[in-house]
């Protein structure tokens, strides 16, 4: 390779790396630094007013009942939401993979549409559906003689309502990944199994699921990160209420940083979230490795 050609690859990846550096890597380091300061709106205009306060932000953070509540809420979101997304998207992908008729194609679209629909539009419609007094859900329940459910008015039920909404919205993309993975399983495996006289359940257990392990790993990692950063749904639907029951860590960071201008404090919270995500992801990679071995 001569000197000129050595630069060619850089020209291709250069723009992407530059964007990544400026808009992702650099901000991470900036927020790392400011999480040890008391920077607020004054500090933004006048850098002399910024003081290094060591670990004070972090100490305050873990004494802040709202932050602890948001940690707990995020945990609930992850523990319920992630398995639900994986199981649902896997089942739907399996069902949709049964045939290729027009009907199945239509349903692929039906399941995918929520992923590409604007969250604000979704929030408006679901807000009406969930309305305790005039919503469709309670109207239907009332028809069957069930008492009205306080979908968004009770701290714990509101969490579940948001999870339901997010699962519905998040199905599409994961279903697509599973569908692609399903279609890449060589047919010869199933033919061999047929010759051996395996039934449907055995084929699922010994061929399909193991063949999808990489897709499952990918979906788990990305879904978990996504759910730890759960933000849009509580932001547009409940604003963290009622009684902070739907406050997620990402929403906490947003409110402290951009509503109350406590940039240092918010940066400290985002660092905690960052570390949490890294740890959880590392754990998954370790497990995945030991599985393979």
């Amino acid at each position: 390779m001569n000197h000129r050609n050595a630069w060619t690859p850089w020209l291709f990846i250069g723009p992407a790396i530059l964007l990544l550096l400026v808009f992702a890597i650099l901000p991470i380091f900036v927020s790392l630094v400011i999480s040890f300061t008391d920077i607020d709106l004054v500090g933004l205009g006048n850098w002399d007013a910024i003081e290094f306060i060591g670990l004070e932000n972090f100490i305050n953070l873990f004494q802040d009942p709202l932050f602890r509540q948001s940690l707990y809420n995020s945990l609930v979101y992850v523990v319920i939401g992630v398995p639900l997304v994986i199981i649902c998207s896997f089942s739907i992908a399996l069902l949709l993979n049964y045939a290729t008729s027009k009907l199945f194609t239509i349903f692929r679209v039906v399941y995918y549409v929520p992923s590409v629909t604007n969250i604000v539009a979704i929030a408006v419609v679901w807000g009406f559906l969930y309305n305790q007094d005039v919503g469709l859900f309670n109207f239907v329940l009332d028809f069957f003689g069930v008492d009205p459910v306080p979908w968004l008015e009770h701290p714990f039920i509101a969490k579940l309502s948001l999870i339901l909404l997010a699962v519905w919205k998040g199905l599409g993309i994961n279903m697509l990944i599973y569908l692609a993975a399903l279609q890449s399983i060589p047919n010869s495996y199933y033919e061999a199994a047929n010759i051996d006289g395996a039934n449907k359940l055995q084929k699922l257990r010994y061929i399909t699921i193991p063949s999808l392990s990489y897709a499952t790993f990918f979906v788990t990692v990305t879904t978990l990160i996504g759910w730890l950063q759960f933000f849009e749904e509580p932001f547009v639907m409940t604003g963290g209420g009622p009684l902070d029951g739907t406050m997620s860590m990402a929403l906490f960071i947003y409110q402290e940083g951009f509503q109350y201008n406590e940039f240092g404090y918010a940066a400290a919270a985002s660092l905690v979230l960052f570390i949490l995500i890294i740890v959880v992801t590392m754990v998954q990679f370790t497990f995945n490795k030991s599985d393979k071995d």
Binding site: L44, G45, L152
Partner: protein, 424 residues
Amino acid sequence: MKKSIGLVSVVGFALALTACSSNDAGDDSANGSTNTNDSENKSDEVVSLTVWAMGEEGEALHSFGESFEDEHPNIELDVQAIPWDNAHDNLLTAVASGEGPDVVQLGTTWVAEFSEAGAFLDLSDYTDDFDMIGNDDFFEAALDTTEVEDQILGVPWYVDTRVLFYRSDILAEHGYESAPTNWEELKEISHTLNDRGDDMYGFDIDQNDQLVPSIFAWQNGWEYDVEAGAENFAEDSFREAMEYYHSFFDEELVQESEGVPIEQGFEEGTKPMFMSGPWMVNIINNTTEGIDGDWEVAVLPGQEKNASAIGGSHLSVFAHTDHVEESLEFLSFMSEPDTQTAWFEETNALPARQSAWDNEVLAEDEKLAVFGDQLEEAVAPPVIPEWENVAQELLSSLERVNRGNAEVDEEMDNFQQNAERRLN
């Protein structure tokens, strides 16, 4: 769920936006200087004045500004309409980069927050040349929100305030010929109307409205003393007002859950009384049917006084502007009583200047007159940067009382501690 990317791109976009705005200003002044050769002007150069106006104001100011340009041929307005949702972020970016507009529209509650960062020019040095600065023809409460620690950081532009909206027909049916004027009457009428049936309510309180608890407190004679800090929240007048606020939930006079939109409840008569601002007049007129003439507005019922909160917008000069003189010319123009009346006709925004209310357009409208009366008793929220945080803490505490069954007194002690932390 790609939040981090979303957030980053928002910041990036805001940066790009400010970059554009400063470029635009440069280009325009370059174009402007060639134009001056054709037309006769006092100065050699046409100055391009960048104005940030939010929401609907931004749209309306485009065409409205032409009359200003006719009067001042040496100034060219470059109005940039910024959606309210982005306004706070854009201002943050402008402060951080020092690159911003010349004149900016500013919500009254943002003054303290941004002034602390030195975002705006102190106008008190220019009072000799421009008599609109600190002019006492503006509503007193509106002026209050432009002043922070001896600095004058803006000129009131338009105002709004909360009044009582009520269904006069329903009240009359139950023997009340006029709106409640004090707390007792409000309570009594609420009870009577609440007793109409299961899904009927007496009153309505928007639990997400930061201003409502303060309005009750002001009505009870409470005043916020900046020096005293969180001690303000220990006062009896404040605690009593919070008890009063809570009693509406305790006695189930208001709906605790989300329910139907207020204009619908108002139309159906299930929520026959509520507090809101001037924007609600149009909403009711446009979205409801068959209740024309069956509803009225009235000055809020009070205890010590019939207080309400004042809101609205100011116009401020950005600290880093190169065109102080021209910016002040524009502020002066926008605050003239005639301009204010014309602006009202264009946008329905209430004039901040009291003499503009003498104009027949405003004086002859009965509903508007109520807003005028209410404005005279309106109080400005404390002009301190932490107010938004404190008010939000208060709402959370009240929510714990109303929904979480916490004791009012205990929870208010709790709130006082949180406020203490926020204020430090």
